[in-house]
């Protein structure tokens, strides 16, 4: 395939520079056509698609080389690549250079002939003009025709030699690469003109031969013809033979005799129109005409930058391309795959998707280094890399890296076979391509799966993905459980119990857990886990065990894990508020109407957004039943709520959600234990997952678990740390304002495990005394933490979260604001009315000022540490019917 395309390119490109060749083309095409037709037809069949592209390549490439330096770089690359291919092919088939030499000899003759015939050419050009392709050429041709033949001739002669010289230089480079071809080629382009004329005389013979060879030619030509037809309007123009050929010549002119004649032959033999053309060509066989055309074409080409570029290409291409198609084909099969691949890639965009191109390009790059044994090298590469096929879930659930490796090896073995077969079979190009494609696919897959492998090995992403899987796939849970069990069994001896606990919570992939570098990896995986688990004292283990026990109980209780958790926590010595927790209704499940009713029931006016209503209701419920209950209740509601949003979770970035959830959860939660427990319960997102984790953890923990009261306190410090860290991360959440509490809640379930992990890891570090103090102060601290969180987040993000809550606080703050004491200021509240007074007096409330006051002072009066954004303040004002406006610009 690729080889054919290359050959065509070469032929087309060389023709224009060697414009004199037309006569030759006829002759040569016959001779060449015969051999080409015989061997190449099968190849061409495959390559048909590629060929048109080749032309396109030629056009741009020459232009680029001549005109645009930028483009030149690319074409040069191509050329260089092509050169080696051609060189190789030439080496394989020395016969081609010989032909080229003959053609080159013909070329000069054609040039000479071309001058006198220029008139005819000019007329032809006029006819050609209508074609969009080359108005410039036509104009020039006309001019040339009008002016004088000599002028044209001079142009042709002058330009082509320059081009040729340039080409020659390029060729020299090519020759360096492949000395044998270069030697033959270099002389050929210069000489080709002369020789071409000579050969032109042989056209008659060529035609006869063609007739004889028609059958094989047809096949080959058909393909080529299709290519030509599609690629160039010239054929359509063929009825006016001269025109079409003129273009063809310009395109292919230099190709030397071989390529152009091929095209012609192809046209003639291939399709109906092509045959007609050919006949016409035969009729005008008059060398003078042909030569004139070519000369004109050469002139045209010289005149046009594109043409110039083409000839240059041709020169470059010539030496390589001149090596016959068959020779190249065979040679390529024998030797260079990479080179072939490249042209194929360029030529065959249609057949191969862009992806394939990319893959091939990658392969080619890789293979380029292994030029000789590219397939083997590719195989080696493939072997080196571990390829694992499967979905993420599958990969994650694979038991051990060994199995993965084994599977990889098996895959390699299976895949390596076609590759090995491909190269030895060298004969058919199709097979070869297929092999190359295979390699390419493998490479591509390799790239894709490298990422996947990394995931399996353990990266930041993993926990998330795992969670998602768990959440989404309820059915898979058992498999995962088994997997987890496997992991635990394998890892238990290696690592401490707490590790296991963490894993269970985090759902880290098995591979990581066993890894000898758990600390580093974990730190990477979990942002929160700054502190290495190593320093954890025994007490921490015990604490963990206690938590584990709590978890186990919770698991037994099933979804209402929190209750169970709470009960154990209470037993441990935490606050008893859990009983109320279950009573918290799940507002997310309510319809809007129901929500509105609920809102009314709490004495609130109708709130616009469903989210807001839910928030408001939750807040109301919390306030009604007490903070402790609320803390428990929210987490409880989360797991159920999660079901719906789970699908959405994937879309929504976790960091934002985590931040929101924390902000909401923390202030409400009575004690850290409670938070943590609900978190744990929520971690498994689905009840099943929770049960699994609990089951897993239970045996270990129970065995070691020695509930210690201090453990609960210890967690407190940890949480604060977590808050600060996580919250900072989620700051980008602003974008997702629309994803309100529901999402955040759902997310919380997924993210919570991280928190719990953090807690576990970090909890041991703080001293018990501190813990106690912290526990006493927990409520106080929570608020500041939340406030800091709010500050960290953009105002807006925080707004929506707490708008419902905040609105109540705002009203309180407005009411509470003390009147300015008359003593303090001379005019008192009259000159500086309080916000409530302003509102009462229907003053338009400047949102910026009001928000600033709220954040600085107002909310503090109400004990609200969070900050409000202007948007939320606006919402509040509008809900109250308070005329609000933005601060006017400085102009006023």
């Amino acid at each position: 395939m690729a080889s054919i395309a290359d050959v065509i390119i070469l032929s087309s490109s060389p023709n224009p520079p060697r414009s004199p060749g037309p006569g030759r083309y006829d002759t040569k095409p016959i001779s060449r056509a015969l051999p080409q037709g015989a061997t190449p037809p099968p190849i061409r069949l495959t390559s048909d698609l590629s060929q048109p592209h080749t032309r396109s390549r030629f056009f741009p490439t020459p232009v680029a080389s001549t005109t645009c330096p930028e483009d030149v770089t690319k074409p040069k690359r191509r050329l260089t690549k092509k050169d080696p291919t051609s060189d190789t092919s030439k080496q394989t088939a020395p016969s081609k250079p010989r032909r080229k030499a003959k053609r080159a000899a013909d070329a000069p003759g054609t040039i000479a002939l071309g001058e006198p015939q220029s008139e005819t050419v000019g007329t032809k050009d006029d006819a050609v003009k209508p074609t969009t392709g080359r108005p410039r050429k036509n104009a020039k041709n006309k001019d040339s025709g009008n002016m004088t033949l000599a002028g044209k001739v001079t142009k042709t002669s002058g330009d082509p030699p320059t081009k040729k010289s340039s080409k020659g230089g390029k060729k020299t480079v090519a020759t360096k690469l492949s000395p044998s071809e270069d030697a033959s080629e270099k002389p050929t382009p210069k000489e080709s003109n002369v020789l071409g004329k000579d050969e032109a005389l042989h056209l008659d013979e060529a035609t006869r031969r063609r007739m004889d060879w028609t059958p094989p030619r047809e096949t080959a030509y058909e393909e080529i013809a299709t290519v030509d037809d599609g690629g160039s309007p010239d054929k359509d123009r063929d009825p006016s033979l001269m025109r079409g050929f003129g273009k063809l010549v310009s395109d292919y002119s230099y190709s030397g005799s071989a390529l152009n004649p091929r095209d012609l032959v192809q046209n003639a033999n291939g399709e109906g129109p092509t045959k007609r053309r050919r006949i016409e060509l035969a009729n005008p066989e008059i060398q003078a005409l042909l030569n004139g055309r070519y000369s004109d074409s050469s002139d045209q080409s010289s005149a046009q930058g594109e043409n110039l570029g083409k000839p240059k290409k041709t020169t470059k291409g010539k030496p390589k391309k001149f090596t016959t198609l068959t020779a190249r084909m065979t040679a390529q099969y024998s030797t260079n795959y990479a080179e072939e691949d490249e042209p194929v890639i360029d030529c065959l965009p249609d057949i191969r998707t862009t992806k394939e191109r990319r893959r091939k390009a990658k392969e080619t790059e890789k293979q380029s280094s292994f030029t000789v044994l590219s397939p083997e090298a590719a195989v080696e590469f493939l072997n080196d890399q571990d390829l694992v096929f499967g979905t993420c879930s599958q990969l994650e659930r694979d038991d051990s890296p060994q199995t993965l490796r084994e599977t990889q090896q098996a895959i390699r073995a299976s895949e390596s076979l076609p590759h090995l077969e491909g190269p030895p079979n060298k004969g058919p190009s199709a097979v070869h391509e297929s092999s190359t494609r295979f390699a390419s696919r493998l490479a591509g897959t390799r790239n894709l799966w490298c990422v996947g492998a990394r995931d399996t090995e353990g990266s930041l992403i993993q926990p998330e993905t795992i969670n998602v899987i768990d959440l989404t796939d309820g059915g898979e849970s058992p498999a995962k459980n088994s997997h987890d069990n496997m992991e635990q069994a394998s890892h238990k001896p290696l690592q401490g119990d707490w590790y296991e606990l963490e894993f269970a919570d985090i759902d880290l992939p098995p591979q990581k857990r066993p890894s000898s570098l758990p600390l580093t990896e974990r730190s990477l995986d979990l942002d929160t886990q700054v502190q290495a688990p190593a320093p954890i004292p025994a007490a921490s283990d015990t604490a963990i065990a206690t938590t584990a026990t709590a978890k186990v109980k919770a698991a037994k209780t099933t979804k209402s894990a929190q209750r169970a958790n709470n009960t154990p926590t209470e037993a441990v010595g935490s606050q008893p508020a859990t009983s109320q927790a279950p009573s918290m209704p799940q507002y997310t499940g309510f319809t809007d109407a129901e929500l509105s009713k609920q809102v009314f029931s709490y004495g609130f006016k109708a709130v616009r957004g469903r989210k807001k209503m839910i928030e408001l209701l939750q807040q109301c419920w919390e306030s009604k039943h007490g903070s402790n209950a609320t803390s428990d209740t929210q987490p409880i509601g989360q797991p159920e709520q999660q079901k719906e949003p789970v699908s959405k979770k994937d879309n929504v970035p976790k960091p934002t959600s985590s931040a929101k959830t924390k902000a909401t959860v923390k202030p409400k939660s009575g004690t850290f234990k409670k938070n943590r427990k609900p978190l744990d319960a929520t971690k498994p997102t689905s009840a099943t997952s929770a049960s699994r984790t609990n089951l897993r953890t239970s045996p270990n923990k129970n065995s070691r678990g020695k509930p210690i009261t201090a453990s609960s306190t210890s967690f407190i410090d940890v949480e604060e740390i977590q808050d600060s860290e996580e919250e900072i991360i989620p700051s980008p959440s602003q974008v997702q304002k629309h994803y309100t509490d529901i999402y955040s809640k759902s997310k919380t379930g997924s993210q919570l495990p991280h928190r719990s992990l953090d807690i576990l890891t970090k909890s041991p570090s703080p001293s018990p005394t501190k813990r106690k103090a912290v526990s006493s102060n927990t409520s106080a601290k929570r608020m500041p933490s939340s406030a800091s969180i709010a500050t960290a987040h953009t105002a807006e993000s925080s707004e929506e979260i707490s708008l419902a809550e905040i609105s109540v606080k705002i009203t309180q703050a407005v009411r509470v604001q003390p009147r300015v004491s008359p003593l303090s200021s001379s005019r008192g509240s009259r000159s500086r009315p309080t916000w409530h007074e302003k509102i009462l007096m229907y003053d338009p409330i400047v949102l910026e000022d009001f928000a600033a006051w709220l954040n600085i002072e107002g909310l503090g009066l109400v004990g609200e540490d969070r900050e409000v954004g202007i948007a939320s303040v606006r919402e509040w004002c509008e809900s109250k019917g308070i005329c609000c406006c933005w601060k006017k610009k400085a102009t006023w």
Partner: protein
């Protein structure tokens, strides 16, 4: 703005109006002005400053078919105007739709779907019916429903359509929003009864658009507060100092009740048992037991406190007028009947006092905004949720202020 700078008193009058061409009834225009008496001639080309959109001679003269009055600030009036002009963009209408599933005006149908703004269909529905529907929705919206607004119809046919729509629409206007029949709706021209804002006046030119109607109230309150020593808050029973505190005086002529602003508001709010409410609409004066409108008290309070000069000027003029009348008529104790003459005199100073051309600017900008809006806003990319939100309330607010 008002804080650092000098806050403006509640305007004596501010309205949004629906202008209709008497020649071609389909031509409508929504504007806002603190002075419809001056504004209408502008639209009709009698005076300078009419909106471009009303400049076509073919459509003149224009008539004000209805006015929505009672705005407590130019900002609010402009916000309302904008929302009325751009119902498809107004967040107030959108929000309302969320709560009310009923099929509102078609423009809102878009709003319901989500971000309505995607289709700047702005001018598609500009029929009188549509405007009235929008007006109805706006008056029911969360934001505007609590405002002390009144709708005054001057044209019978317009009111007929309005009533028809009222029958069809699911939502009801809040009770506090008064609908006043005026102009053509009245069989007989009403007496110029100045005391009552709600009374029909017969014609736009009879609207009391300045603070003169407050003069009695103002006179009483200022007189009382000049010697506040014996005054005490009717609620908290503490002494009051009018210089330092916001003191509300009962508007009832015979009531000497004074109270702190917050005290009285708290009393009123407690009375209606709506803890979430921040601004009462009315209440019972703890002193005289009469029902008093909160807006009226606030208008007087803000004018007294924030435009002291103007207030005193009004009082001086009243004194002059009274003196003249007394001289002419003997001594009738009826300053109130002074009617139009003094009013015309008083208009000028009050307006000037409000600031140089502040309402004129408003008008112009609102007009320009409206006109440009068709082009600009229609051209604006519909992406707008946020933008629109800001624009709606914002631009006008900024422009005005």
């Amino acid at each position: 703005m008002e804080d650092s700078e000098k806050p403006k008193p509640i305007p004596a009058y501010y309205c949004c109006y629906l202008l209709r061409s008497t020649v071609r009834h389909a031509s409508l225009y929504i504007g806002s002005t603190p002075n419809p008496i001056r504004r209408l001639p502008q639209h009709n080309g009698v005076a300078k400053g009419g909106a471009k959109r009303t400049a076509r001679d073919k459509l003149r003269p224009w008539e004000m078919t209805l006015v929505v009055e009672g705005f407590t600030s130019n900002v609010g009036a402009l916000q309302f105007e904008w929302a009325w002009q751009h119902p498809e963009r107004s967040r107030h209408l959108d929000s309302e739709d969320d709560l009310e599933p009923k099929p509102r005006a078609k423009a809102n149908a878009n709003a319901k779907t989500g971000k309505p703004k995607s289709k700047p269909r702005a001018r598609t529905r500009r029929s009188l019916m549509a405007h009235l529907e929008d007006l109805h929705s706006l008056l029911r919206s969360t934001y505007f429903s609590s405002w002390p607004l009144r709708v005054r119809f001057f044209c019978v046919d317009v009111y007929r359509i309005w009533r028809a729509w009222n029958d069809r629409v699911d939502g009801r206007l809040p009770d506090k929003i008064e609908v006043i029949l005026d102009g053509d709706n009245l069989a007989t021209a009403p007496d110029a009864n100045q005391g009552d804002e709600l009374a029909p006046v017969g014609s736009i030119n009879n609207l009391s658009i300045d603070y003169t109607r407050l003069e009695d109230y103002l006179e009483k309150s200022m007189f009382m507060l000049e010697d506040p020593d014996d005054l005490q808050c009717t609620v908290c029973k503490e002494s009051i100092s009018s210089d330092e505190e916001q003191i509300v005086v009962c508007p009832h002529p015979n009531c000497r009740g004074t109270s702190h602003l917050l005290c009285l508001s708290t009393t009123f709010l407690d009375a209606i048992n709506e803890p979430d409410l921040l601004v009462p609409t009315q209440g019972t004066c703890p002193s005289c037991g009469n029902t008093v409108q909160w807006v009226a008290m606030m208008r007087e309070l803000s004018f007294r406190n924030r435009a002291e000069k103007e207030a005193r000027a009004i009082l001086r003029k009243k004194e002059k007028r009274v003196r003249k009348e007394s001289a002419a008529m003997g001594d009738s104790s009826v300053p109130r009947s002074s009617s139009t003459e003094p009013r015309s005199l008083l208009e000028e100073p009050t307006e000037d006092d409000l600031g140089p051309n502040w309402f004129e600017e408003v008008d112009i900008e609102s007009d320009s905004d409206f006109e440009d809006g068709q082009k600009h806003r229609s051209t604006r990319p519909p992406s707008k949720l946020e933008i629109v939100i800001e624009d709606s309330d914002w631009d006008d607010a900024e422009l005005v202020e």
